[in-house]
Amino acid sequence: MAKEKKKVSRRKFLIRGGLGTLGVLAIGTYVFRNTIRRQIAGMVDTAEAPYLGNTDSPLIWFEITKDNKVILYSPKVEMGQGIFTGLAQVAADELAISMDQIKVAHAPSASGNLDDFATGGSTSMSSLWQPLRELAATMREMIKAEAAQKLGVSVGSLSVKDGIISGGDKTITYAEAATNVVDWDIPDTPTLKDIKDYQFIGKPFSRVDLRDKVFGTPLFGMDATMPDMLYGAVVRPTVIGATYIDADTSKAENMPGVVKIVKEADFVGVVANSMLEAENAKNAIVVTWDIPKVWQTQDIEAMIEVGKGKPYVIQKEGSPKELLKEDEKLIVSEFKSPIGAHAQLEPNGALAFVEEDRATVMMSTQVVKITRNEIAKRLELDEEQVNIVPTFLGGGFGRRLHTPNGIQAAVLSRAVGKPVKCFLTRKEEFQNDTFRPPTHHVLKAKLNGKGLIEAIEHNVSSGDVAWGSPMLPSILETIMGADLGAWRGGMIQYGAIPNYRAISWRVKLPFATSWWRSLGLLANTFAIESFMDELAVKAGKDPVQFRLDQIQDDNRGYRLKEVIKAAADKAGWTNQIVAGRAMGFAASTDVNTPCAQVAEVSIVDDEIKVHKVTCAMDPGLVVNPDQVKAQCEGAIIMGMSASLFERMYVADGQLQPTIYGPYEMALMKHAPKEIDVVLLQNAEAPGGVGEPPLGPIGAAIANAVFRLTGQRLREMPLKLA
């Protein structure tokens, strides 16, 4: 690709405020911690997601091919959320090419097109919406400038359509215009098209990766190959808190197919000619572990308890503490959620080839830059000498924010001087996951004489989520204390209540906990929205109206009300049991996307059966309605799976179970036969989509079960007494 001539004429692409400014704000105001903490907490919940990667040059984002197509190199990875399709629509519209003319590929780290954050947190489209359109529009103008020169006409006289530039009576393709250009001029960012003039944005295009995924094309990290590739296996701990001390490898050394045993200060691995030979040799290695304590489930449960650990008030309005003194009017409820596994189908692993002065690593990762930097550090190479080639992810969900597997494959490759592919087994996946932490919630409230909430308080005790990952600056942790992932969805969203507060109790667990699709949203919404249902029953009110009556009159409140009304209308909401089925209602707001759901439930053979879910969500401008609906459908069933079935436990130091089946998950037979999604668009730009629809489902189901049986289920996974 050609290099750019100069940057002087270049106006910086617009950088929006929001989370990116947090670090600065946090440092500057360290002394006023408590107030500032709450302000930041509020900002984290409402800030627009910034894009933190390089937007200086369109040339690292786009490549024009000889057949007059454009390749968009995406710094965001495709893990099923459909981001490649959405980005293709956005870029094609400003590039003035057809959808058939755009292809999307992962940007390798060596291209310099790197995201400083991650693919996660439902931020990919919302953060790239502005910069990608600007980059595409700029690229279009750059091609036009070259065309003008080649055609000998002025840029102003040119028109473009479908990658063909017309000027006077002449036409030239993008490919022709771009041929032999050595020094590109990068102009000021042009004015973007009016949203109403977009051809592709807002339309339900099919996925750009659909056919590859239907015909079995090798796409994933585990499918990657290189010539002369060998296979690695690493001995991983099976017990919580185990630290590697040493290993007896004498038996493994002589096993068939073994090329080399690799002993490091922190792990031992083996390289062999085949995957099975590597696995067999690995299983013959005897490791000495330091195991300070043998943990049990009850130890963990005893730690996760409101009142233990350190409390941080993350939201406060009025005088909730004073009003929620214990007396006969005080209503108190408790809820719990278990440890959750990611259980994504493609295990973690990597294919690495380390040569003397460079390394190439093909893998599924949500944090391309962090993965690169960690591998470079371990190999003592410059960061630019390590090229991460991201592959499609066989599921992300937050599981690929931690990538020590990349380091391990690289270390094994360096030891043998050949490419080495090294993956975790399913058992290793389950035991070395970075889990969704268990939670305990205590909610308190008092109703006033009109049956409305006078004061409410949500306490959540949780293991770390955001601080469990390497993605956020540690200064934030120092300032915030409370874990912004653990409290996601944990604030009171009913702003017309005069007195409310939310308190996050932070607990450090002895095993890794981190981001799991929607972070704390599922558990926090389960607790708060079950409690709201309880309060509505106590107040003798309809749960939908009860919610609507306590939402403030501002834009955020308006959007929340609208999804609540839309979900209720579409579902034909009733508080009555009809033909053995009851409805349950719940709503949440996450990354500025409000979402309301109605679950229609019956009890079949003493089991909770979800027949239909109606979902109304307002993610702002919708780039691809079909894929937003797909995210809702998947999130609803995944959330249902976590709410009804999933639970990890600890037995004699081991996280269990270690296989699908015993780790019970929703299957085809559990999935609702009807999912009805209504999309509202009450914001001008796209907001988050991947996680918000996971919020309400647990509470919606539990609230329906209460209507049917009178049982208030307070613990996930939800089981009837």
Binding site: M79, G80, Q81, G82, S206, R207, D209, L210, R211, D212, K213, V214, F215, G216, T217, P218, L219, F220, M222, D223, T225, S274, M275, L276, H342, A343, Q344, L345, E346, P347, F392, L393, G394, G395, G396, F397, F423, T425, R426, D626, A630, E633, G634, A635, I636, I637, M638, S641, I659, Y660, G661, M665, A666, L667, M668, K669, H670, A671, P672, K673
Partner: protein, 160 residues
């Protein structure tokens, strides 16, 4: 030892040290067909589902020695982009995949199902399609299975 079988109608004769090697790894690492996936290694998730003599088999737990003389079909042999199998056609029309990793296993299981039960009911689907999809694409998958069955019935009628 030497084991002979066909994969997607191409005959193969492979030399293998351990006859108990799961068929999955022979298909993936020796024959380089990567569409059949590893998910769990214990026949618990179905990501590795392929056909052996027309039967859906979880190849991670199927020793290669049992494949002797058999006809194996993988996702790569189900249909082509030019001429998709009814299951693939239905999957495209319903836009089923998200991450896509488990989808070949589901499609192979579905192809075997509609060969046996040309007009499966929801109960038939619930009983027979028991693979795991973490993106939880089950809602569209059910629609696609019904559609695939319909396409296959229409196609076979036309051919009669």
């Amino acid at each position: 030892m030497k084991i002979s079988f066909s994969v997607n109608e191409v005959p193969h004769s492979i030399e293998i040290k351990d006859e108990n090697t799961p068929l999955l790894w022979v298909i993936r690492d020796m024959l380089h067909l990567k569409g059949t996936k590893y998910g769990c290694g214990k026949a618990a998730c179905g990501a590795c589902t392929l056909h052996v003599d027309g039967e859906a088999v979880r190849s991670c737990s199927y020793a290669v020695k049992f494949a002797e003389g058999k006809k194996i079909r993988t996702i790569e042999g189900l249909g082509t982009k030019e001429n998709p199998h009814p299951v693939q056609q239905a999957w495209i029309e319903e836009i089923v995949p998200q991450c896509g990793y488990c989808q070949p296993g589901f499609m192979m299981a579905t192809a075997a199902l509609i060969d046996k039960i040309p007009e499966p009911t929801d109960d038939d689907i619930d009983r027979n399609i028991i693979n795991v999809c973490r993106c939880a694409t089950y809602y569209r998958m059910r629609k696609a299975i019904h559609r695939a069955a319909q396409i296959q019935r229409t196609t076979s009628k036309t051919m009669e």
